[in-house]
Amino acid sequence: MSSSELKQPFQYEKIPFERLQTKKEKRAKNTAGTIKRLSMYLIEEKWKLLLVILMVLLSSTLGLLGPYLVGMAIDDFIVTKSADGLSSLIIVLLIIYASYSLAIFFQNYWMIGIAQNTVFTLRKQLFEQFHKLSIAFFDKRQQGELMSRVTNDIDNINNTLNQSVIQIFSSVITLIGTVTVMLILSPLLTGITMTIIPLLFLAMNWITKRTGPLYKLQQDDLGELNGFVEETISGQHIVKTFSQEDRVIREFKERNKQLQLSGFWAQTISGYIPKVMNTLNFLSFALIALFGGILAIKGYITVGVIVIFTEYARQFTRPLNELSNQFNILLSAVAGAERVFSVLDEEKEESDEASAQELSHIEGHFAFNHVSFSYDDTLVLKNINFEVQPGQTVAFVGHTGAGKTTIVNLISRFYNYNEGEILLDGFELKDIKRSSLRSQMAFVLQDTFLFHATVRENIRYGRLNATDKEVELAAKRANAHRFIERLPNGYDTILDQDGSSISQGQKQLLAIARAMISNPSILILDEATSTIDTITELKIQEGLKRLMKNRTSFVIAHRLNTIQQADVIVLLENGMIVEKGTHDELMKKQGNYYTLYSEHRNKEV
């Protein structure tokens, strides 16, 4: 077993370099761009940043001054065995050390503040961006993967900002100081010490070319794992009832392994950096000793200079070491930042057209003129034409997948129609601000989504300033009041996010109450009552009828009652309108609707 453990570290599958280097130039540009963009956030707080730099300068200087004074103290008071003036030097030393500690404290204190503000802003922007993106963006992505960007990637940036900025500044300051002193001592030996710089450059170039993309890969793999975990845990009831735990575990293992692999290489190769630095450190030491020795024999320099120089070479490589380490950490933050920025740069389909305006009151007159829509290159709706008068009810009928929900998505502008025009009260839909359009609409959708909050808060979501009385009234009208009363804490019962504490039908009742309370001009009911039993539905029906009165309503339903009472029935087939009219008109026509209807009727009676 032990011999296999010895081999294990070398048996990781290699990640081909080519795979990492697909877009080399672009990547370098990206990295620089990302760093620049990230630093813009820091510059936001330039005064604080300036204070931090000042403090770093102060602490670096004091850090050097302290040992210098201690040396003086030894020369003056220990070697000479005198006590005159020792107390004043001690007081000076104490003051220096106190200010040194204070400077460090403040540099950290302020830097943490800056870093947290930056991270806060990033998270905020990302969140706001999510709300500006189109629904299509979310339809194509995994929840967990998106969440990973807000948490894991931003966390990465957070860690880096807390340490790196200070380290980089203090390293640069120390480096400048050391090189100056070295040059004064011996330009020749300084030159020899500097020979490690091209080597350092080569090595760092080799390493970072790999670690940059590897970090990115690692973050991607992490995101994917996150997505997988999120999905399987939220779908756990299916995993369990299908007793697929073992399989899910196996699939998890694959992704886990992938993350291990990219993590292994990212860490291994970035782990080269301190090793390379250490080696270069030794190398410069050896070179100074070797050449210094030869020079000393020839009488060009003294032994003292060699000793001092080896010390300074150490002083010289230490900040370099720090810098290259920080550079590496920075790369891992860049990988995170890139993923964050890529979401921030997603096209905001939600930004309203420049011509868009507020509509303070919507009458609810709708006209579809030659509207077509494609999704993922598939034509979903073809040349749709119909008109609705204010207060009318339109019912969409057709087989599943005929395009009923898509029309609703266009009306609410979750999706943008490609061709034709949709007019609302004579205005092109694209000329109306989305917020103004949607604030006068209420939705009861197929997938009932409730929040992890109390029943009351969930209903109130429809109108935030609704009173408790209004909430209860809406619940009563939606026929939800009775079951709410029977919940352990009534209206204050907290619902699970997946709503597993109440039944699906009860969830729909709450969604209807939520729509009722919002008092909209336009109502959209997409399978609103599909999981409600018919007796309850009958009771809600009255409420719904009341709700639909004087409001333009779009209804998708499979049960025929709502459909029959509609002012316009639109029969869809494969994305096209086949027939439209009232129930009676369509029945007289004895066309597709008639066939469909008779089929149903035969089955039901």
């Binding site: 950290n108 979310f138 339809d139 992505r141 782990g271 030491f285």
Partner: protein
Amino acid sequence: MKTILSFLKPFKLSITIAYTLTFLELIADLLFPFFLGIMINEGIMKNNLNTIILWGSIMLAVTVITFIGGIINSYFSSHVSASFALNIREKLFTKIQHFTFEKLRLYPTSTLVTRFTNDVRQIQNTIFMALRIMVRAPLLVLGSIIMAFIVNFKLSMIFLITVPLLIAFIYWVLLKGSDMFNKVQESVDYVNRVLQENIAGMRIIKAFVRRDFENKRFTLSNNKLAEETQTAFRFVEASMPILLFVMNVSLVFILWIGNKQIIAGTTNVGDVVAIVNYALRTVMAISMFTFLALAFSRAKASSERIEKILNEPNAQEKDKNNNDQITDGKIEFNNITFTYPDQKTPILEDLSFSISPGESIALIGSTGSGKTSLFQLLPRLYEPDTGTIYIDDKPISTYPIVELRQSIGYVPQNPLLFSGTIADNIKFGKEEATKFEVEQAAKDAQIHETIISFPNKYNTIVGQRGVNLSGGQKQRLSIARALIRRPKILMFDDSTSALDLTTEAYLLNALQKYRCSMLLITQKISTAKRADRIILLDEGTVLAIGTHNKLLEESELYQKIVESQMEKELPYVK
């Protein structure tokens, strides 16, 4: 941290190697000044060029060796930390997969996800760091202090006060810090939850134009996280200047005492210089301690969170070692009463009925009457309070849980699909299914035609919740997923609600040939009528049971339901 640290056990050898290599590096570090000394004494002083070249070359050789050692070290350290994280994640996932349904409800998804990635990584980073730099700083401090005592015990007395003080201080910072980071991680959970809700419920949020409202909610949680992180970081990092100050003051103290003793003649110059030197080294090493304290308090907080899950008692679902198989699909519910764990009133009360093999039963009842709850008892997602469920005349608890669930085809109310292709999703029911089986299941579920109309057919990718499919399409896919198992018992939890009647009729026809017992929850009398018998459920009890005609005669409520549906259709029929 004990449980977490036990994950390091399999890597004892690798850790030893990594530490040994780090140690060797340290030795090389200490050897170089020694080599230089020889070079100066033997070479420069004696004008011997060959000695200089010899020792110079030795130094170069040691450099090469440490380089190779360093690279190997990098491999071993990464191996430990990457595999360590792999194992923890795997153990966590397996553990969660074996949670009972009840237990799972205690943890919101978002907090579990955070533990998986964020918390594991926190620990992983610390382990990696510990392997590479941790030994150095403590060894340096320890060595310096020991050396100081050896050189001059009296002068070093100050360390006897400051060092225990510092150790106690660091320990306190660690404890306090990890509490703070625990809070930070909880805030991360909360941010995650708001975020998850926003992503999942984006449609509703947009529909109600609640961007500002949600923004406020998020800002609140975001603010809390930023503030807590800030406080935690500041607290731990503030410890460094304090440590430095204490060490520096003891340095000044040594100077002062040293001066006194020198004047009194009780000590010599060399000793004072040496001890001051060691004190300076300790000061240098201490700046590394903050770094370690920070990493450790974060890792400790994260470990506790992970351990909380790992230490949850195992589910009682012990696999029965018998080979009892479900062959017929006869089901009997016997005096079942069931209450959800967090509720007081039972949702099912003293429920009894039986289903003979191959029979189909429709469950009908008002919203919240207990239909879905009844369904969840059969695959043992929950256990009833009292009463027993029998399948093929044996209590379901006697079957191995896998066998029990294997023979059930479950179609949930909410047709959740997983990311992947359509074929993958159907095969979720039976992994080794052939292409033919997949297509057959799809055909029977009335979705084959739709699938082949997609450009990528069975390889079409469906999103996390299958959003690019319509509700009805998703329902039919989840039906196909159940059918492919060729189950003995088929359960439909109102899974045809989004299907139009024609499609539903075809589906029910296709199901005939599956020859299994079937339980189906429905709202539609037309669907219920096709079942052999109908059970009318009301407030958790069986109100009536029998054929459509029998119920029509006997049950008033059933009559009302039928009327409610007929009434809607009939007036328009001429």
